[in-house]
């Protein structure tokens, strides 16, 4: 009987050990090799556009190129006109504000602040022709700029302050004959230079990504898979996957690492456990602005100083702008560790006309989420701070008119007068301006999604699981081993250890003394 029991027991322990071992190895091997295979194969164009007679002619107006495109690709222009690349706004539910139509058209930021009254200049990055003011006619499919995205010649460029028209020097016929899927160059021409210069806005999207190494971005690396933006930001009917929370609010239409890599891609289950609460980006983008600096602080209140009546610029030793009369003073940063926030995929926005408390910094967009929210994960962000103009009587932000077509039209970049700039800008957005302006601190939160590092460079455990100023030192709402402890348990525990040790030495010392005495006496 005893022997049977013993055998059963030993077998049970053995089985338990084997099961444990098997459980640890049960994760799927990451399909990385498959992914690499898939994305290494370069797409071949199915046709050669340079052979089409429709394109073998001299184009003088860009709209004629569009006409030629849609003579074959019919219906495509309408798709573009339904996209946010064209509309610059979409219907979003914003927590606390309800359903609103928001986007670049009407949302303020703390870089060049807002589009309204500055369309002539801003629409250089609009996927159309002739977006010159907020009343611009948006219904003509011939105004769709196919080339901005589909140029494969690398020679297409939009002009400065031309309301989105191509630069005069562009050979439209040549570009039209060399079109194809959007390349990083097409997307980057706008998305790398948002905010008026390279890497100003995002910090993780900049000209270094035209030709990056694996250290800069493991996906886009030209010495690696050389992935294009549209490999992840796929599109159905010209509706691109992905958006930015500077203008978006809802948890939809997102590009996720998990789409390719799955939600538990690590061999180590302890790491896989993390994926429920920690976004991939948090560990795999240890640094952003890896090659060129990104703007961290923009002080509009310093703008408008003139030298001999003329605007001027100052650069630091690296050639980075630190002062511009038209924009104010800046602080930049390079090789930055991101900040981290709980984020559930929804955001709220400051909307034109919202009153705020100027004694506190104003969040222009705020990423929502918390530990207790099952949709939330910890995400890396860039926080951009600014001092920007607001109405000191009505306590709302001012949309200034910056772009100036001619002196005296109120545009700050021509007149350097905040009073006339605010008057013109607020008139354009249809809000009263009290005539009193000041500057207030504002913040924007930009999720960091690009510049994914090779896995060897991923954030190490001890960079967060540490008591001294780890990456997640300020991310609250939960207990993290290595970072957190109960101070009372710590005090009492250490006290108890000290008492025990003290007692041992006291007792032992007394025994030693007594035994020596006894020896001496005997």
């Amino acid at each position: 009987m005893k022997r049977i029991f013993l055998t059963l027991f030993v077998f049970g322990v053995f089985a338990a050990m084997v099961l444990t071992a098997l459980h640890k190895n049960s994760t799927d091997t990451p399909p990385l090799t498959k992914l690499k295979e898939q994305y290494s194969a370069k797409k071949q164009a199915s046709v050669d556009h340079s052979l089409f007679p429709q394109l073998k002619k001299k184009f003088t107006r860009p709209q004629d190129v569009t006409a030629a495109c849609i003579s074959c690709h019919n219906g495509r222009a309408q798709e573009v006109m339904h996209s946010s690349h064209w509309q610059w706004e979409r219907t979003e539910y914003i927590a606390g504000k309800g359903i609103r139509s928001v986007g670049k058209r009407n949302i303020l930021n703390n870089f060049c602040i807002g589009v309204t009254s500055n369309e002539q200049s801003c629409s250089r990055c609009h996927v159309g022709y002739g977006y010159a003011n907020d009343k611009a006619y948006f219904n003509d499919s011939l105004d769709v700029d196919c080339l901005a995205c589909h140029d494969n010649s690398g020679t297409y460029a939009k002009g400065n302050e031309t309301a989105g028209m191509p630069d005069k020097k562009v050979d439209l016929s040549y570009v039209a004959q060399h079109v194809g899927l959007p390349t990083r160059t097409d997307c980057g021409t706008c998305h790398f230079f948002g905010g008026g210069g390279n890497n100003v806005k995002h910090g993780d999207l900049e000209e270094a990504l035209f030709d990056p190494t694996k250290d800069v971005d493991v996906h886009m690396a030209t010495d690696g898979e050389d992935m294009q933006c549209v490999d992840c930001h796929t599109a159905q009917k010209h509706q691109m996957l992905g958006k930015m929370y500077s203008v978006s609010s809802m948890n939809r239409n997102r590009v996720r690492c998990e789409n390719c890599h799955g939600s538990m891609p690590h061999k180590d289950n302890v790491l896989n456990d993390h994926t429920l609460k920690v976004a991939c980006q948090t560990c795999h983008i240890p640094e952003y602005a890896k090659v060129n600096p990104t703007k961290l602080f923009w002080d509009w209140s310093k703008a408008g100083k003139l030298k001999d009546g003329k605007p001027y610029e100052l650069k630091d030793s690296n050639g980075t702008d630190i002062y511009m009369s038209i924009k104010g003073s800046f602080k930049w940063g390079k090789n930055l560790k991101p900040d981290y926030v709980w984020f559930n995929g929804t955001a709220t926005h400051y909307l034109l006309g919202d009153k705020f408390d100027p004694s506190k910094p104003l969040d222009i967009n705020r990423l929502l989420g918390s530990y207790d929210d099952p949709d939330s994960k910890i995400y890396p962000v860039k926080i951009h701070t600014a001092m920007q103009i607001y109405d000191t009587k009505y306590d709302y932000l001012i949309q200034p008119k910056l772009y100036s077509a001619k002196k005296g039209d109120g545009g700050f970049w021509g007149d350097f007068n905040w009073q006339t700039s605010a008057t013109a800008g607020m008139k354009a957005v249809g809000l009263p301006y009290s005539g009193h302006y000041g500057f207030t601190e504002t913040r924007m939160y930009w999720p960091i999604n690009h510049m994914v590092a090779p896995k060897e460079q991923a954030v190490k455990c001890s960079e967060c699981h540490t008591r001294d100023d780890g990456r997640l030192a300020d991310v609250g709402g939960f207990y993290m081993p290595g970072r957190d402890y109960n101070p009372w348990v710590e005090r009492i525990g250490l006290g108890m250890m000290a008492l025990t040790l003290g007692g041992v030495f006291l007792h032992g010392g007394a025994r030693f003394v007594v035994s020596r005495k006894r020896k001496r006496n005997s």
Partner: protein, 227 residues
């Protein structure tokens, strides 16, 4: 002085394995706790997990041994001689008084040891294993999925685990010292290594008569011997 067989082979193996594991779990555990950095956080977690599973296997064997051999009775707390034993550590030990309890294979623990070890076995170790397993199988709450334990946070579990760890450290310190309080300074240590302890011949046997100087037949459980 005579030599008496006190600790069985498995018992000694179990003791030293347990000692090594608890020390290792302590070092890796306090590193995970953020007290210092030695192995590196990732390795500390990995080693702590492996040591924890090894410990659980060892516990399984030890529990089996305790019950089949009837050894669990050794740990039944008793009032008998409890005060005498405490008095010995406070007064007697300084006067070179004899140990109030006699160590035999049938009764190898003095009343204070019974109390402390029983506390370790039924409170501290199970609490550490329990909180440790919760810690290990803890999954963060998520939608429509039960992957292991779905609890709202680690805090309570982690703090309990830490309290247990502090208690074990204190025990460890006191235990190391009390090794030296045998009939000679090293006799307890020798006994736990060789199994045999040198025990002074005593006239007034307070507790139990030494049954035999020979080791009992390995297969005979304590219960049977008592019968």
């Amino acid at each position: 002085m005579k030599k008496e067989y006190i600790y069985h082979r498995f018992e000694r193996f179990w003791h030293w394995m347990q000692a090594a594991l608890i020390i290792f779990l302590g070092v890796t555990g306090f590193e995970i706790h953020g007290a210092f950095s030695f192995f590196g956080y990732e390795q500390a977690v990995e080693y702590h997990d492996i040591a924890a599973w090894t410990f659980i296997v060892l516990i399984a064997f030890a529990v089996f041994w305790h019950f089949t051999k009837g050894e669990w009775r050794q740990y039944l707390p008793t009032w008998t001689n409890l005060k005498a034993q405490a008095d010995y550590y406070i007064f007697g030990i300084f006067r070179n008084a004899p140990h109030p309890t006699k160590k035999t294979v049938l009764s190898k623990l003095n009343p204070l040891q019974k109390l402390v070890y029983a506390g370790l076995k039924v409170l501290i170790i199970p609490a550490m294993v329990g909180t440790g397993l919760v810690y290990m199988f803890y999954r963060y709450p998520q939608h429509n999925q039960v992957l292991g334990l779905n609890i709202s946070g680690l805090q309570t579990v982690a703090v309990l685990h830490t309290i247990g760890a502090f208690l074990l450290v204190s025990f460890f310190v006191a235990h190391l010292y009390l090794i030296t309080t045998g009939s000679t300074v090293t006799s307890n240590l020798k006994a736990m290594i060789t199994g045999y302890e040198e025990i002074p011949e005593a006239k007034d046997d307070l507790h139990a008569k030494p049954s035999t100087t020979e080791a009992p037949v390995a297969t005979a459980g304590l219960g049977e011997v008592i019968k």
